[in-house]
Every structure is written in C-alpha cells, then in structure tokens.
C-alpha cells in the first residue's frame, strides 16, 4: 500500500505541467546528445548543472534523468544509420544495427531498440520502486565504518571494471581523492594544498573539474578522433518501423535477458550502461543457437544491448538514491548536483525528500513513454542534428563549460582552472588513464575521508572497527578482493602460459 501511495504522490509531482516540460526537455536534449558523437550524458549534465542553481531540485533532477536515459535511446540512431555510436553505450548496437540498415531494415532496428528500451526501462522502474526503498531501509543501519567500506568497495570495483590497466585506474582514483582533500580541512580548520591561494581555500569545486574534464576535454578528444560516417541511403516510411513476426519472436526474449543483465549491472557501483550493453551483447551471442549470425544483422544483437543500456540507466539510480553512492559517471555528476542543491542522497533521502525521490521515479514512466514516441516518429528530426557544423557544436560546449565554471564563484580563476582540467582530461584519455575513477574519487572523497576519520575517532584510532561490524567487514573484504583481482588475474595468466623449454 505504501508503494502505491508513494507512487501516487510521485505522479502528482511529476505530472505537473512544469515537471512534464522539464522531463520533455531532458528527453529531447538527451536524444540530441545521444545522436551527436563525442558528447555523452555526463558531459551534457555537467554543462547544464551550474545553470540549475535556482531551479527546483526535483524539476532539475527529472530533467537530468531524462537526459541520461534519453542519451541511451538517441545513441542508437547514429549507430544504426551511420555506424558511428553516438554514445559509448551504443557501440555494440553498431555491430548488428548497421548491418540491418544495409539490408534495408534500419526501421526495424530502430524500432526494436526503442521498444526494447521502453520495455526494459519500464520494467526496471517497477523493480527500482520495490528495490530502492528496501535498500534504503537496509542502509539506515550504516555508520561511518560502513560508509567508508562502501566507498572503498566502489573504488575497488572500479579497478575490476574500470579499464584495461587497473594500476592506472588506481592512480586515477587516488588523484580524484587527492583533489577532494584540497582546501580547508573541516575537522581541524587547517588549509591543505591551498598554497596561500585564496581561491583554493574553499577547495576545488567539482563543477569546475567536471566541466573541464568532461566538457573541454571532450572537445579536444572529439576534434582529434572525429569520426565520420556515411548515412545509409533510402527513405524510411512509417511501415518500415513495424517488426515482422519472425523479428519479434527473435527479439522478445533477448529484450528480457538484456533487461535483467542491464538492471543487475546498473546497480553495481562502477557498472554503468556501457558495461551493461557490452555484457548483454556477449551474453546474447553466447546464449544464441546461431552465434554466427551476430555481426551480420541479427536483430537480437540490437534488442539485447539496447534493453540493457536502458535498464542500467534506470537501475543506476538505486545506489545513488538509497546509498548516496554513484554507480556510473553520469550518476556521479548527478551526485555533484545533489550536493550543489544542498541535498544529501542516501537512506534518509526517502524520508526527508519523498517528493523528490518519488517524483523522479514516477517521471521515468513519463520519460520512457515520451522517448518511445520520439524514437518511433521523430527520427528524421534527430538525424538533421548531425548536420550542425562541428565547429559550432564545439563552440557551444566551450561556452557552456566556461559559463558553468564561472557561475560557481563568479571569478575567472575557475574558468582557467576548468581549462586546465580540460587539458588534464584530454591527456589522461590519450595515455589511457580512465577518467571515471577520478570523478568518483572526487565526488566520494569527502564522504570517504570523513567516514574514515569519524570511524577512527569512535575507536580512538583502532582500525578493528572496520572488521568487527559485519556489514563494514563485508564491504572491506569485497574491496580487498576487488583490488586483488588484477593481481590474481596476472598470476593466473602467468601460470597458464606454457613454459618454454630452453634446452
């Protein structure tokens, strides 16, 4: 009953004209961002975040959520029509989606992606409605030791999922944590790494870093790796969007499997929508009786990853809302937004801000429906976006990033610092240092350090608190195992390699 009551309250908030408008704007903007190669959801949200200082947080978060899952829908269009993924989460869609387009079934590929995303999205919202409050109730038992353990586990999981080179993931995380320590220490009041620069005493604002590392860095990287694809020729009529009976039979269970994989990956800290779509595609291929069809235009190869990325974009909100721990770069940027609005996500959020939580959850039903309709009827409009000259687009990103950085403290020092972080982000990507761990370290740094210090203050500096409390011990053990995984993998690889007989 509580659930229905909360949902009713949520709809009474999300169905207000202003929130429908924000949801529509978010979905529309997300769809455009998804279509444009090189710009992802974290960049879009990071650039818009500073402009929502004065907006009602519920409306703003509804819009940002719309952008997040809108991007997952939008990226499909370019993946299918020009074989260039608009978004990293739709890379797998290129493999079969583009092949379908070449065979004249672009409409069916886009249609199954939209329908699959809608089914996965709606199903995930229903599970999220039941799962997130339960997770929040469980998390009410958390103290500083558990929060430190959880943060440590999130960082640890990043080393498993975060990139090709775990050591670089570790460096990136440590750099993010270090950036979070800059400024006045809230316990002792001592300045740390401020070097008597007054602008650094308050710390380096995450908006400045995010605008640089996602916005400006993306500009440099996109210019360098500018991907050009050719639009598949031919007109798409409304009837081309309908699936044949055989296509529907082939894709329906792929959608279900993709949704389940996506939901599960989304709730894991450091999971994210890209990993979800990747695992769903591989899973589907392994599950298929005809794996040889994958890569040649198999509709399951579109349905499964598309369902997975949408399911993950919904379930990723569970750890964010219930624990205050982001599971992906986009939710990490959103966490920064919550902090900016003075709201702390976590178990108490469901009690202190039920309007925000349930307004957001219910808005996802509306957003997914809007996106389904957009993707079935407005595809030509979004394809037109690809004709915007690249130089103008890059200019817009720099403008938004500059204004965003400036609004934090109304000074140009932050604008320059933003540019510096842009260069850092660009170089990190070139040298294959993952950026997500830095952002996660930055956003969770204060929580991790404060929890660590609070926990050790309780015990007078005794570290046993992390192992004597069962939940904390579980998190710490999981973190240790996660950090050891690359070492174990390395050792196993060494053992498996055949010994070369020198004699």
């Amino acid at each position: 009953m509580d659930l229905l009551h909360n949902l009713y309250m949520g709809f009474s908030i999300s169905l207000t004209p202003i929130n429908i408008l924000y949801c529509l704007a978010g979905c529309f903007f997300g769809q455009i961002v998804g279509v444009l190669p090189g710009i992802g959801a974290p960049t879009a949200i990071a650039l818009l975040l500073p402009l929502t200082f004065s907006v009602n947080p519920t409306s703003a978060i509804i819009m940002f959520a719309g952008i997040y899952y809108g991007v997952a829908y939008g990226g499909t269009i370019t993946s299918v029509l020009i074989n260039v993924p608009g978004e990293s989460s739709t890379v797998m869609t290129c493999l079969d989606g583009y092949q379908m387009a070449l065979k004249g079934r672009a409409g069916a590929a886009l249609s199954v992606a939209a329908i699959g995303s809608w089914i996965a999205g709606t199903g995930s919202i229903i599970i999220l409605m039941c799962f997130a409050p339960a997770l929040a109730r469980f998390a009410l038992r958390f103290g500083p030791a558990e929060y430190f353990g959880l943060a440590l586990m999130s960082f640890g999981l990043l080393t498993v999922f975060g990139g090709e080179e775990p050591i670089k993931t570790l460096i990136s995380t440590a750099m993010g944590l270090f950036l979070a320590t800059i400024g006045l220490d809230i316990v002792s009041g001592l300045p740390r790494f401020a070097f008597e620069i007054p602008q650094l005493l308050g710390g380096v604002d995450f908006i400045v870093i995010i605008c640089g590392i996602f916005g400006v860095a993306e500009v440099f990287n996109s210019i360098e790796e500018q991907a050009e694809g050719e639009l598949v020729k031919g007109k798409m009529r409304l009837r081309d969007l309908f699936l044949t009976k055989a296509e529907w039979i082939a894709s329906r269970w792929a959608i279900v499997r993709g949704s389940i994989i996506g939901f599960l990956v989304g709730i894991i800290p450091a999971g994210g929508i890209t990993t979800a779509s990747f695992l769903a595609y591989l899973g589907e291929k392994r599950f298929s009786k005809h794996p040889e069809r994958f890569g040649t235009g198999a509709i399951e190869g579109v349905a499964s990853p598309e369902a997975a990325n949408n399911a993950a974009s919904i379930s990723g909100f569970a750890p964010l809302l219930a624990l205050g721990i982001p599971g992906s770069p986009t939710t990490a940027v959103m966490l920064a937004g919550f902090m900016m609005w003075g709201i702390r996500p976590g178990p108490l959020l469901f009690q202190t801000k039920p309007d925000l939580v349930w307004g957001l959850i219910s808005s996802k039903f509306i957003g997914n429906l809007i996106l389904l309709l957009m993707n079935l009827f407005l595809i030509p409009l979004f394809v037109m976006v690809l004709r915007i000259p690249y130089t103008i687009l890059m200019g817009f990103i720099v403008i938004f990033a500059s204004v965003g950085a400036f609004t934090v403290n109304n000074n140009l020092f932050d604008v320059w610092m933003m540019l510096g972080f842009g260069v850092l982000g660009y170089l990190m990507k070139k040298l294959r240092y993952p950026i997500v761990p830095l952002v996660l370290g930055l956003v969770l740094g204060r929580l991790a350090e404060n929890s660590l210090r609070q926990a050790l203050t309780i015990t007078g500096g005794n570290f046993s608190i992390f192992f004597t409390r069962p939940i904390s011990a579980l998190f710490i053990i999981a973190a240790i195992l996660a950090y050891l995984t690359p070492v174990i993998r390395w050792a196993m690889k060494g053992l498996r390699q055949p010994k070369v007989d020198v004699g």
Binding site: L51, S54, I167, K168, L170, I171, A174, M175, L177, F178, T181, D185, V187, S188, L190, R192, F193, V216, V219, F220, N221, I223, E224, E225, Q226, P389, Y390, T391, I392, M394, G395, F396, V398, I399, S402, V403, F406, T407, N410, L412, V415, W416, L419, V423, Y426, L427, K430, L431, R432, Y433, E449, L452, R453, L456, T457, G460, G461
Partner: protein
C-alpha cells in the same frame, strides 16, 4: 616540424613522461602532507589520507614506469593526424579567455565561436560574424538576463 614531432613522439615515451609526472605528484603530496598533523587527539589528522594517497601514487607510478620500460618498444604514435587541430583549439580558447576581461563574457565567447568557425571550420566571414553576433545576443539574454548570472561585462557594456 610537426611531422618531425609526429614521427618522433611515441605513445611509450608519452606514457613514460605521464608516469614520471604521477611520480612527482606523489612525492609532492607526501612532502606537503607530512607538514600537516598525521594524528590528532581523537584520531587521524588532516595529513593522514593525503599522505597515504601520495604513497599510493608513488608506488603505482613506479609500477607503471617499470612496466613501460619492461615492454618492447611500440610504434604507436602519441600525436595523431588531427592532434594539431586540438592544439589549435586550445590556443583559440586561451586567446579568448585572455580577452574575456576586456571584451566581457558574451562578446568574448562569441568572438571565440566566430574565430573557431573561421580558423577550424573555414566558414565564410559573413557566416562567422553572424553566428558570433547571434551567440553574443544569446549569451547576454539567456545567461545574463534570463538565468540572472552576473557575467563580467567588457568594453561593449555586455
């Protein structure tokens, strides 16, 4: 000159420099955090976490450097054919940011867009000028008037 650098700078060299920078950063963090109290009466002090982060950075950097030196030489270049354009974009941003106090935000960023279109997109002067004007008006009204962001004004008064 550009081609010389493109051929000479390999990814391995750049990776090595990256590792050394991380190593130096780690050393600097350890040095500066050792000047902060490591422990207080109630528990860890402000120097506790940064010190350990510095140690982690040093250890990781040593591992990265050793790994790079151990690997066989790769031919992969660090500078790509379009890296020059990225560098050009950086220069254009720096020029525009330097002009921000003089031109103000709206005009300065509009100037940046026009300049980018002209230098990097090879668009015509009229298209660049009109777009820049539109951008200046857009920034002034959207950010300055509608969102009430107190953007610095320049000689134009915007």
């Amino acid at each position: 000159m550009w081609m010389f650098f493109r051929r000479r700078v390999k990814l391995k060299t750049a990776d090595l420099v990256g590792g050394l920078v991380v190593l130096l950063l780690g050393i600097a963090i350890v040095f500066f955090s050792s000047q902060l109290p490591y422990k207080t009466e109630y528990g860890p002090g402000p120097g506790f976490l940064p010190l350990w982060l510095g140690i982690v950075l040093i250890g990781s950097a040593v591992f990265v450097i050793a790994n790079i030196l151990r690997k066989h030489s790769t031919v992969e270049a660090f500078l790509k054919p379009r890296t020059k354009q990225s560098g050009m974009m950086f220069i254009l941003i720096v020029i525009s940011f330097l002009l921000l106090p003089l031109l103000g935000f709206a005009v300065g960023l509009a100037f940046f867009t026009g300049l980018t279109m002209r230098v990097m997109g090879r668009h015509g002067w009229i298209a660049c000028g009109l777009t820049a004007m539109g951008i200046a008006i857009g920034i002034h009204f959207v950010f300055g008037q509608w969102l009430n962001i107190p953007l610095p004004t320049g000689i134009v008064g915007w």
